[in-house]
Amino acid sequence: MSAIHRLGDAFERRGKRAKLALMAGPGVGWLLTLILVPMAFLVTVSFAEIDSSYDVVWSFSASNYGELFVGESGLFQTPFIDSFLLSLRIAGATTFLTVVLAYPVAYLLTRLSGRRFKLVLFAVLVPFFTIFIVRIYSWLSLFGSQGLLNSALLSTPLVSEPLGIFEYGIAAVIISLTHAFFPYMLLTLYSSLEGIDYGVIEASRDLGASRLEIAKDVVIPLSAQGLITGCVFVFVPALGTFITPQFLARGKFTMIAEVLTARINELYAINYGAAGSLFLIIPTVIAFAIVMRTTSLEAMG
């Protein structure tokens, strides 16, 4: 190869690199400035102390992490752990309910086309066009011993006293979160189910498989990637939810985000908040690791 050709190749390679840098630069800059730098600050503050004047004392201390896990009564006997476990249970129940409710609807959508498809999709998604806080206020009216749900039931001969499930509390929070995160699950499952070759389902039917067997052995395994992605999309925000329990728990229990917010707002304990937030990242990272190992980008829709 002549020297002129080599020089030409070098210019071409440099040009490609420059183009790549130009294209990726803003995104990388954004990531560095707005995600990695605050993250680094969060990690640093989680090891710092706050003095009585609310000044950050830059010392390396693991006491904030210790405070999360060690209470007066012993290891893991802290309000943080109590709230964390409760949040895990609530997020788990929410994820389970969204799966149970969204699967049939997503399957139905794949069987519809044209105007009927649009109509069902619109009917399912229209409540989500309203502002979240407005939806929370409507849930507020529905729940409670004198809420619309219990009042309606009490006006029938079916019940004689308000039902506990429709009182403010854990059930109300789970129902509201299920409603809030339903579209995430629905749309992820739909994109996954839509990719299934329905010839396989018909073949199963021809071979004598029951509806349950088809669902268990064909539909669910073939849509597993979408299911896992949907679960992560619901579980992660449900774990860190703040507004919903603020209204519907009536302060009778605290989810993890509320514990951290109260400590920061009332004591300016940003070091405790940072340590708690970092601990919260662990289940999120695990969830994403599962998705990355099991799911392709296409399956995420």
């Binding site: 609310y54 209470g71 709230s83 206020y137 403010y168």
Partner: protein, 362 residues
């Protein structure tokens, strides 16, 4: 199609408009801008103050709580804001951190019109080395509101109501709310249990034994509570729906509720009310101290003070301002200020908040 000349004209006009806007932002008027960090509602009297004080402009920012105000002011070394208006129990913290400037009594001429209770409070809680560093502006108190169609008005007013399944013949099971904050709820429980001695020093100091009893009382009574709630909208909706009969919260919150729900009344407990007042501080780093004190003087003046109170549904610390207020819900009994228990810092903040978290998760 846009003609080239039309385009140039449009660009020119946009530029002129932009420059005019920019000069406005830069304070082209040449006045002194007093920056204030405070609670919501203070900006309602901006125009009134700017009209009264020639050459003074106000720039009001709202903070979410006194701790937030202190940390913001402290982070800026007391130079970012000319005035900060936290709750009274935070003013000593400003003084200790050298963030507060001594009040210029030659400018704050309305100081003498403050209720004697607040003059004494300023000369006590807000004083250090013979100087006063904070000015009481507005005040309110915490007690309980109740639905008079459920709990008769002539019941014995006491914090005991908050911990009773039945009181004066009224069934209160599941229809009581406490404040969703450790500080106020623990103090109210302490008062209901008769621990008045804990409120006597510079801080609220419950003994370990008292704190344990407070925690046990709250946990034991929790099943009878509707919950821990304090925001006006939610409480109003709950009163309207008949979900609650008694609620422990700020008086101003209840004034708002009373505007919407006729049967709601506010109590005067025998154990006395837990009183807070906003303590305005001119920061030591302010370069506009004189203008800042003139603004504070306006907040407690008869006209502006009354307007501020009516807008925020909160009483004014100035008697002259209160005399100008017409709203019935803001009128107070003459003797109500006599036995008030002022807010003081908790001596074991962290233990209190941890205890409250345990109560909520129990």
């Amino acid at each position: 199609m846009v003609h080239r000349r039309q385009y140039i004209k449009a660009v020119g006009a946009t530029g002129v408009t932009g420059m005019a806007g920019l000069s406005g932002c830069l304070g082209g008027g040449g006045g002194t801008t007093v920056s204030i960090l405070t609670w919501s509602g203070y900006d309602a009297v901006n125009d009134q103050i700017e009209e009264s004080l020639d050459g003074v402009e106000l720039d009001v920012s709202v903070a979410d709580g006194s701790a937030n105000m202190f940390s913001t002011a402290n982070a800026g070394g007391g130079e970012q804001y000319d005035v900060v208006i936290p709750n009274n129990e935070y003013v000593p913290r400003f003084i200790d951190a050298d963030l507060a400037a001594p009040v210029d009594m030659d400018i704050v001429t309305n100081f003498d019109a403050l209720y004697p209770t607040f003059q004494s409070a300023a000369e006590g809680q807000f004083a250090d080395g013979g100087d006063v560093y904070g000015l009481p502006v507005q005040f309110g108190w915490y007690a309980y509101g109740y639905d008079s169609s459920v709990l008769p008005e002539d019941h014995d007013h006491s914090y005991d109501v908050l911990f009773s399944e039945e009181y004066a013949g009224a069934d209160l099971t599941g229809s009581i709310t406490l404040y969703d904050g450790y500080y106020k709820t623990i103090m109210a429980t302490g008062l209901a249990l008769g621990y008045t001695d804990a409120f006597e020093g510079d801080t609220v100091s419950f003994t370990e034994e008292q704190l344990t009893t407070i925690e046990e009382t709250l946990i034991e009574f929790k099943p009878n509570l509707l919950g821990f709630v304090h925001d006006e909208e939610t409480l109003t909706q709950d009163y309207q729906n008949g979900n609650i009969a008694v609620s422990f919260a700020n008086r101003s919150t209840h004034v708002g509720i009373m505007n919407d729900v006729e049967s709601v009344e506010f109590s005067q407990p025998a154990e006395e009310e837990l009183t807070w007042f906003e303590g305005a501080v001119v920061t030591s780093g302010s370069s506009n101290k004189e203008a800042a004190f003139r603004v504070l003087n306006e907040y407690i003046s008869p006209e502006t003070g009354a307007a501020l109170s009516e807008n925020r549904n909160i009483m004014n610390a100035s008697q002259d301002a209160m005399d100008n207020i017409e709203a019935e819900a803001l009128q107070i009994e003459p003797g109500v200020l006599d036995g008030m228990i002022p807010f003081k810092p908790a001596d074991q903040d962290e233990a209190w908040i941890e205890m409250f978290e345990r109560v909520k998760n129990a």
